[in-house]
Amino acid sequence: MTGVQERIAELYADGWSRIVATMIRFTGGNWDLAEECAQDAFAQALLKWPATGVPDQPLAWLTTTARNRAIDRIRRASTEAAKLREAAAMDPPAPPYTSDSEIPDERLELMFTCCHPSLHLDAQVALTLRSLAGMSTADIARAFLVPERTMGQRIFRAKQKVAHAGIPFRVPPAHLLPDRLPAVLHVLYLLFNEGYGDPAKARLAHEAIRLSRVLAAMMPDEPEAHGMLALMLLHDVRRPTRIDAAGDLVTLEEQDRARWDKAQIADGVEVLERALRRRRPGPFQIQAAIAACHATAADAAATDWPQIAGLYAQLARIAPSRIVELNHAVAIGMAEGPLAALPLLDALAAGGELDGYYLLHATRADLLRRAGRPEPAGDSYRAALELAPTEPERRFLRSRLGRLAGLHSAASRDQGEPRRSPEPTPGSSQ
């Protein structure tokens, strides 16, 4: 039984985007119907396969089931519009997924197809994550630091524009790929973050790295594509050590660096250096450089915080955001001490945009604790606790709060990681 369910989960991870893409084409561009029918096919599989066994060609089974569902739905709908759609859907018969494009990976190709530049960049990314990667609206909303309702409306509006403006679902020709690269990089980045943040979703991180590698090889002249690959490789080495056997978060300084994959670090550093030699720095390259500072430090005490602070300052110039400012403040706090960072954080808090972001409060709490001000630190930990999205993060904050009671001296720092930021920075307070 569970074997069947696991197989279905695997098929969902591997086949969802292909089935949705096939259905988008089949329904003549009705994204909602395409997703619904794909969803329905998986529901049917969960219902039937435990009794019948997994079919020989499960993806074909799922696609056929989704297609039948779509035909059924279109036939049953009685409006003129539906009849027109039916005509569009039936004639010509939807071609099976084939392509002669220059993109050597189907999933990557679908991402480029989905990221149409007539949509706002955020809309391209959100729509691709939702429709193609099958990420939930709630997860996407968290990644963009917006309420779920806002994200739901954004995705809805994007789908409306796709339908109303006649945006085709078509693989773009090679000369248009660079236009779409920033959106595709963001999609990969957020997929990686999803997998990095949740051990249950580790395969997303692997897949994001695999796709980044294909992308970097495909676009050798795009240093940001290489920066992205380096960033992922260098962050990914920490994934096994950032959560302990009990499922608790382990701070960067307490992580067992002996378990970091040295070959992968060397790989990441090499990819980064090759990108930097092109002398066209970008946000992903800078963040990879920050990740490299951490990955190559012999131990936490050897971390080159002044350099990291400088890199964040550079990042803030070319890709300004509140999250980057927060990370910059953390680095200043490490390089120059908590008293140097607290005014930066106060200024950030006064802006109000990060009020709902638990790492703002957690960082502030940590700086206050290190500055020897346990009472306001406690208030900030409690504020962070209310906003933290996952249980390990809440446990971590509770333990910090508990330790605050019996105030201790250590210069240890918590380090949640604002991995859900839409900005290309999985590392915040490392």
Partner: protein, 113 residues
């Protein structure tokens, strides 16, 4: 699909970026020949515009465009294209895309309320 192609001037435009811009006569001939351009014309400037509103059964007229400040519309064309990609390609070939800007508005289909 049908698109209204609004041809507009761009006040931000700085001359000298239109090297190689196509000729408008060629564009019209080309798009008419392909059956893409259904109709179109240049329009007189905003100063010659009249804005019409009916409020409480009364016809209210305003001398000039509805938006007081700027009206950059210089002309329009109606396109019949397979999809937005084709419409973008057609618009990008118009000389005013090189020195001004073009807005593509899909038609509201007849079968939708």
């Amino acid at each position: 699909m049908r698109y209204l192609m609004l041809v507009c001037t761009d006040p931000q435009y700085t001359p000298g970026q239109d090297d190689g811009a196509p000729d408008v006569e060629d564009w019209v001939r080309d798009m008419d020949g392909k059956g893409i351009r259904l109709m179109g014309n240049r329009t007189r400037p905003a100063a010659d515009a009249t804005t019409v509103r009916v409020r409480n059964r009364e016809v209210l007229l305003t001398d000039g465009p509805y938006a007081e400040t700027k009206d950059h519309i210089a002309g329009f064309d109606i396109l019949e294209c397979a999809d937005l990609d084709e419409a973008i390609e057609v618009a990008a070939k118009h000389p005013m895309a090189w020195t001004g800007m073009i807005e593509l508005r899909p038609f509201w289909p007849d079968d939708e309320a």
